[in-house]
Amino acid sequence: MATTNTTDATTTTTATAATDQQQKQQKESDVYDRQIRLWGAEAQKKIQNSKVLYLHVTGSSSEVLKNLCLAGIAATICDPRPASALDSSPCFFTHPTNNNSNNSDEDQENPTKKQKIKYDSVAHAVRPLVEELNPLLGSCPILTKDISTLTGEDLIDFAVVIASQIPLEESVRISKLVPNGCIFYTIDCFGMRGASIIDLGGKEFKYRPEQGKKLLDPIPIKDYVSLPDMVEVPLHKAINRFHKKGPPPTWVMYRSLLEYQRQTTRWLGDGGNNDDNAAAAAAKKIIQEFLKNEQVTMTENDLNDLITAGMAQVAPVCAVLGGMVGNEIIKIISGKGEPANNTILLDGGACKAWTFLVKAKE
């Protein structure tokens, strides 16, 4: 009925640019409508002005990537691993969609897609699909560097850096490199469980608590433990009044897997030799030794499950943890609501997840 205003015949180029800008804004407010109604236009603006760097795209981090890209947070990817690394993870960026929609006139790249493209790296394989997921974000930059050569310079501009399947010593190193105000996150899923380590950057990190619908004035977080300090906390001391006897099993398992990687330089279960009895026994020995040093125990069942599954990722577990981490990062970027500090632990079998503060209890 009401037709849109047609531009004047004497339109100058600047005016056209302005209309393009307007059209883009209109499209943005249409696409993001349902979430703007949740967190408000101001938060949406912050979201659209923020960038996240993904160090490795895995089953779990691809879920975060998907959630945040859809919400309007642009991604940069650093993942020089060979593209075949994707094959073993339940990542929906893995299998390119057959673009056989009916209106294929515009799909110039369609014929090329039919052939198997050999990508240089995971980042290159994932990029076209990320760009397709939310075209409003434009092109998705790739950081073509090895994780171990990243410098502080590379991390400027990012609100959050999310690492998945990177060695613990790299997490420690990078968490020290991130610039002020940047948050460092890890996310990993293993079997029916998953875990995240969070470094909010410093004790001056502030957020606005929510009280019902009311947003209160910013306050600093109560406890801050940096990631390097966190992983120095002996497991038997990582307890609180809700976990008196020992830390949550998921935290112990995550640390065990990271320790296995540190000692062997490979992830438990990589190469698909979980069934290999000798390898399993060796892994068991490494983990048992670690648990002994850390003065904690693990039930035989849990230990066996951990070794059988290794770092194998299960799609719904990745989806749940990826959704939770997505929510947390939106909290952090929008400054609304108390963020999780300093781990998120998921037990998919029990359908429970919680945040646990790793801090030495004296």
């Binding site: 009925m1 993001y32 939310n134 929510n327 359908c351």
Partner: protein, 680 residues
């Protein structure tokens, strides 16, 4: 176990926010046999969370696109050989692996059914029986009730989920596991408002928005008396505004538009001033907290002479601007050919939205209601838009699939037990799936509990013994048997409130009504206009037991009738009062809002809130504010009650047993909870 996943048959109902996430998880987990039902097409506002859709898909059926995309996500079968690339990119997406025969696996088939799950001819009990389990990804109570009943009848496990903004919950329903069904707890079907609140005593922005939608109908609907604001010009009491309304409806295009402008002005003046003055004179607002004030004539005149209507969608229009906006809308409507003019409000129609925004703000200012609304926020209220984000949907869908794993594992164990020991079969059958032992009711919350939980899992609830759906409980019904006709009983109570689709009604073993497949409706048509007490077979009297049978849902229940002549205004709907369940207590008890134990149980079988009369003292008739295309959303359940339930979990100190009871506990506050959260 992986073989079980690959060979099981899954039904996914809904391909929206949660549905897309479910299909992605199913595909990535290796499920090969999935059928999807959805009636919707893709809208641009879906793209922020429904990851399977792109902008080129807008307008296409959700289920078809979702199936196509999900099919391509199913991981190819990896062979021991090292060449890796075993997935030939075949033309047909249903065939992208060619090793299936060797492994005795079904081919990958994600099958789309573009249709409504409430279509009994297609989606019935035999249809549901072919599946190992059903996952729900729905957004409305009606369809959820339907799937609930089908799954109970077929005894197929159902994994239910719902999200609103940051909050979500997942639960499992299974008849023979002895757990609560969807209808064991109160479900709000639609948010309702009393007519008199809308017509004379609005107190919230939503009331004036409903009024404006009715005004839209009054001016543009081909049947003027469809509008709640319609007053009979021939009626005893002369209407203050109907003359101006019909004048405007009949106005012809005039050269300079002066006549038309006057007609518009008259309508606005009569509605915002003359009618208000009349009500004031009648003493309508003597006891009211706020007294309305007539719209200032100078504002009307200024607004009418201004030419440029307001254009901002996020700023609040001034009163003059609102008048100008309304006049502009009406002028546009006059020059629009009738076939292009919507008879009823639609939130996605630009003119209708401007009309409602402007009219509701004028009315809000007359009644001193705050805050006034921008077009953007008015759209949220008028269209009943529920905020939605990808993250919460991803979490809930993931939890659903995790529960699906538990169920399949149990099914696999039973299958193996059966095949290994024949003599034990009896014992196993008695044991059954026992999902009460392996599945959970899971809540997803925004702010952690005191002990840090973001996802809380508690055992599934036991069935409500008074649930007529899964426990076949007798339904107590109170009404006036001398006033109600069979037609009204069928329409308002049996189909409306109780959700039957093809009911057969019996009195003492004899049919008084029959419909559906093979029924002879003609034979019983004559009963429809009869008063209940005058029906054959002795009629429906005080104490009568009415039997309802619905084959389409495999449901058979009895209704015991209590006759009641006299009704207090606050007990039940005004025109044809009735109460399903026990009569509400005479006086509301503000200290203990929870009705007595018996009343809770009965009201729990109740789909709407009007039985909780203690919960709302001025409900006298029902007005649906729900926009057709968003009506699928269970508004208050999402926006109000469950939200309240979530809050109580947040505050729950130890996070143990996050009380689902909060859901059934009516609270005064719930009624005031806005249907959506607008930006804060």
């Amino acid at each position: 176990m992986f073989h079980k996943i690959q060979t099981s048959n899954i039904l996914c109902v809904g391909a929206g926010g949660i549905g897309c996430e479910l299909l992605k998880d199913l595909a990535l987990s290796g499920f090969r046999r999935v059928q999807v039902i959805d009636l919707d097409t893709i809208d641009i506002s879906n793209l922020n969370r429904q990851l399977l859709f792109r902008s080129q898909h807008v307008g296409m059926p959700k289920c078809t696109v979702a199936c196509e995309v999900a099919t391509n996500m199913v991981p190819p079968l990896t062979l021991p050989s090292d060449d890796g690339n075993d997935d030939d990119d075949d033309e047909k997406p249903t065939n992208n692996d060619n090793n299936n025969t060797s492994n005795n696996l079904p081919s990958i088939l994600y099958q789309a059914h573009h249709g409504n799950v409430c279509d009994t001819s297609k989606f019935n009990v035999p249809f549901v029986k072919q599946f190992d389990l059903v996952v729900n990804a729905l957004d409305n109570v009606e369809a959820r009730r339907r799937v609930n009943r089908l799954c109970l009848a077929a005894d197929v496990p159902l994994i239910e989920a719902g999200t609103t903004g940051y909050l979500g919950q997942v639960t499992v329903i299974h008849k023979s596991s002895g757990v609560a069904c969807y209808e064991c707890t109160t479900q709000e079907t639609q948010k309702v408002y009393p007519i008199c609140t809308i017509r004379s005593t609005p107190s919230m922005p939503v009331h004036t928005i409903v009024w404006s939608k009715e005004l839209y109908k009054l001016l543009f609907h081909s049947k003027v008396d469809d509008s709640m604001l319609f007053e009979d010009p021939e009626g005893e009491e002369p209407s203050t505004y109907m003359a101006a309304v019909s004048n405007l409806r009949n106005s012809e295009e005039d050269k300079d538009g002066l006549l038309f402008s006057k007609a518009v002005r008259d309508v606005l003046h009569d509605l915002c001033s003359t009618e208000i003055q009349k009500q004031l004179d009648m003493g309508r607002y003597k006891a009211a907290k706020k007294t309305p004030t007539c719209l200032d004539v100078s504002i009307l005149e200024k607004g009418m002479t201004a030419i440029t209507p307001p254009s901002s969608t996020t700023d609040i229009w001034s009163l003059e601007e609102s008048v100008t906006a309304l006049a502009t809308c009406l002028r546009e409507a006059q020059t629009t050919p009738n076939e292009n003019l919507l008879e009823e409000f639609d939130k996605d129609d630009d003119m209708a939205m401007r009309f409602v925004t402007a009219a509701s703000n004028l009315r809000s200012s007359v009644f001193g209601i705050e805050p006034l609304q921008s077009l953007y926020s008015a759209k949220g209220i008028a269209g009943n838009i529920i905020p939605a984000i990808a993250t919460t949907n991803a979490i809930c869908a993931g939890l659903q699939i995790l529960q699906a794993f538990s169920i399949l594992k149990r099914q696999l164990m039973l299958e193996q037990d059966r095949s290994s020991g024949g003599e034990k079969e009896n014992g196993d059958d008695v044991a059954g799936l026992q999902l009460d032992k392996s599945c959970f009711y899971v809540n997803c919350i925004r702010n952690r509990t005191r002990n840090g939980l973001y996802l809380t899992a508690v055992p599934l609830e036991k069935p409500n013994p008074n649930c007529f759906v899964c426990k076949n409980a007798v339904i107590p019904l109170t009404l006036n048997v001398n006033e109600w006709t069979l037609q009204e009983l069928l329409h308002r109570v049996i189909k409306g409130r109780l959700g039957f689709e093809e009911p057969t009604l019996m009195l003492q073993g004899d049919f008084i009504w029959e419909e559906g497949d093979g029924a002879d409706e003609e034979e019983f048509k004559m009963n429809l206009p009869k008063k209940l007490s005058q029906l054959p077979c002795g009629g429906i009297q005080h104490g009568t037991v009415l039997e309802i049978d619905d084959n389409s849902q495999s449901l058979n229940v009895c209704v015991t009738i209590t006759h009641k002549d006299e009704w207090d205004g606050d007990e039940a709907p005004e025109d044809f009062p009735f109460v399903v369940g026990a009569l509400p207590p005479k006086k509301k008890d503000d200290v203990e809002n929870k009705p007595a134990a018996g009343a809770v149980a009965v009201s729990s079988t109740e789909p709407t809130k009007s039985v909780n009369a203690d919960n709302n003292d001025d409900d006298d008739d029902v007005v649906l504010i729900i926009d057709e295309d968003e009506a699928k959303i269970d508004t208050v359940e999402n926006g109000g009650k469950k939200m309240a339930a979530k809050r109580s979990i947040d505050e729950n100190a130890d996070g143990e047993k996050p009380t689902k009871k909060a859901k059934t506990k009516p609270s005064k506050e719930d009624n005031n909870v806005e249907v959506i959260e607008i930006e804060d």
